[in-house]
């Protein structure tokens, strides 16, 4: 049973057209993360929520926003996707302090035309 679910698995958007990726979890974890991963690169943390507290990485472009309306759901909004935003986007969760293991979803592969 999938515990971290990402939808859609594949997303195609046009240059400049806003897109939203979603993530849900059944683990009741405090922390939810969004990573961007490009081919042969390490997953790059974009931001995370600890409960409702939002934490943005310093080098995350303003084009990327996130929402966490409740414990179970987290969204990644890309306001004006560029060609360089084509990547795999991974959502992960963890318990937070005292729980170091992160549990990942299967990812959303974003293509920008």
């Amino acid at each position: 049973d999938a515990m971290v679910i990402q939808n859609p698995r594949y997303q195609v958007t046009q240059f400049g057209k806003p897109v939203t990726l979603s993530c849900s979890q059944t683990l009741n974890h405090n922390v939810m993360y969004w990573y961007q991963q490009k081919s042969s690169q390490a997953p790059k943390l974009l931001f995370h929520y600890y409960d409702k507290d939002f934490n943005n990485e310093a080098d995350t472009p303003d084009n990327f926003q996130s929402r966490r309306p409740n414990t179970s759901f987290c969204f990644l909004d890309i306001r004006s996707p560029g060609l360089g935003d084509a990547a795999m986007y991974l959502c992960a969760t963890s318990r937070g302090v005292g729980g170091n293991i992160q549990y990942f979803g299967a990812g959303t592969r974003l293509s920008v035309l």
Partner: protein, 113 residues
């Protein structure tokens, strides 16, 4: 600045032999490390971890060794099986109150039957 380095992008091993995947880190604040395994079209899944107070942790066929003075860790898989073919990511975390991870670029392991 790559704080976690996996210098071998790929590794091929014969079935039944030992696989050794290496990871180096530069951040002295890391005090725990995790290995993740990733199959194509799936998210990374947690494999094994080690705290900096240990130099070895074993789980079945998987053993992780940590050499703090060299800032080096390795994952040993014995015996290797074709189902172990995947990309392996090393990740480091810092501090008792921290829950964020820094990932390496991964090593693709191919186990040849």
């Amino acid at each position: 600045d790559q704080q976690v380095k996996q210098n071998s992008p790929s590794l091929s091993v014969q079935e039944g032999r030992i696989s050794i995947l290496n990871c180096d880190y530069t951040n002295s604040m890391f005090d725990y490390f995790l290995w993740y395994k990733k199959y194509p079209a799936e998210g990374p899944t947690f494999l094994i971890s080690i705290s900096s107070i240990k130099d070895k942790n074993e789980d079945g066929r998987f053993t992780v060794f940590l050499n703090k003075s060299a800032k080096h860790l390795s994952l040993h898989i014995v015996p290797s099986q074709p189902g172990d073919s995947a990309v392996y990511f090393c990740a480091g975390g810092a501090g008792a109150g921290s829950y964020q991870l820094t990932f390496g670029k991964g090593t693709k392991l191919s186990v040849i039957p």
